[in-house]
């Protein structure tokens, strides 16, 4: 997940101390449009489909990881 986020995070140093509770928009400063790119990238890499409602609930790295785990 961190490697996917690395593609869309401007200040990569934030990722060095990222945890499951790190907020993607607030802490990593990934904007909401890029967050959707992150989610689409997750779909591609993990071969899953994430619905709009599910995407709307992804706020932290942990939310994304849990959702991906559930889908695999």
């Amino acid at each position: 997940m961190i490697e996917i986020l690395r593609l869309y995070t401007k200040d990569k140093t934030h990722l060095d101390r990222a945890t499951m509770t790190t907020h993607i928009l607030d802490d990593l400063k990934v904007n909401s449009a890029r967050l959707l790119d992150v989610i689409i990238k997750c779909e591609d890499i993990f071969g899953i489909i994430i619905e709009d409602d599910e995407a709307d609930k992804i706020l932290t790295i942990g939310d994304a990881v849990e959702l991906i785990k559930k889908k695999l």
Binding site: L36, I39, I50, D56
Partner: protein
């Protein structure tokens, strides 16, 4: 969409209609006071009226975004004073950034009566869902919605084809009959983004109406594709504008 929300939108529209006779002339007076002029104004209004006649709705007007009053200028360019009063129901709904006017009570009331639905960029998901629900309700009722797919004023002064918002794609995904009117607006003196265009500014507007192609993918990917179609079109319009820019004239 809950019944109270639908009721509030209809109430907002009704109050806007009742006050349009007073506010619309003030709005047009403001444009004259600032000395703003639109090139080929009559032609633009005729074009938009013709498009509305051919397709009653829903419509999504998608503009480029350089100043805080782009939507005001675009609506002024599209609809005459008489149209503002007599055809209030056909005026576009707007989604202005809440932070831009929330501190001023007068502006809050003015925006409410001018068919605005405030949004908070980066706001919480519940608020975003509520806004989406309102917009979907309006599109279901074949209304006209004005949005800026770039999501914010372009920092480079050019249409940003990389960092656009996907929200517009979500509207289109749910309303396959929704037509899109791309509007490219630029003042002669506008180089980068700003708050207000300078006094006496002359604007050029180009428009392009189309029905977005249905993407092969689903979900977020389809939304990205749909909004991508719009942003690329705006970028092409910008290129065309740069190549065919006319000398300032009068409206």
């Amino acid at each position: 969409m809950t019944l109270p929300t639908a009721f509030h939108l209809r109430l907002q529209s009704a109050l806007g209609f009742l006050t349009a006779g007073l506010l619309a002339p003030l709005y047009f007076l403001f444009m004259k006071f600032r000395g703003y002029r639109i090139m080929d104004l009559d032609k633009i209004r005729r074009q938009w009226a013709g498009l509305l006649k051919n397709h009653r709705g829903p419509w999504l007007i998608c503009g480029n975004h350089l100043t805080l009053i782009d939507s005001i200028i675009m609506i002024y360019a599209l609809v005459s004073l008489g149209g503002h009063i007599k055809g209030f129901q056909r005026l576009p709904w707007n989604l202005p950034e809440r932070a831009n006017f929330q501190q001023n009570l007068f502006m809050v009331i003015l925006c409410y009566l001018s068919k605005c639905i405030p949004v908070s960029r980066g706001g919480d998901r519940e608020e975003m869902q509520a806004t989406l629900a309102r917009c979907n309700y309006l599109l279901e009722r074949r209304q006209v919605l004005m949005v800026f797919p770039e999501g914010r004023r372009s920092r480079s002064g050019r249409v940003d084809t990389e960092n656009f918002s996907y929200g517009v794609g979500r509207f289109l995904q749910g309303h396959r009959d929704c037509r899109v009117l791309c509007v490219y607006l630029r003042g002669d003196a506008q180089i980068l983004y700003g708050d207000m265009p300078g006094r006496g500014e002359t604007f050029t507007i180009t428009m392009d109406a189309f029905l977005p192609a249905i993407p092969a993918g689903q979900g977020l990917r389809a939304q990205r594709d749909l909004v991508g179609q719009i942003v690329r079109r705006l970028a092409q319009m910008e290129e065309y504008f740069a190549q065919h820019r006319e000398k300032p004239g009068t409206d």
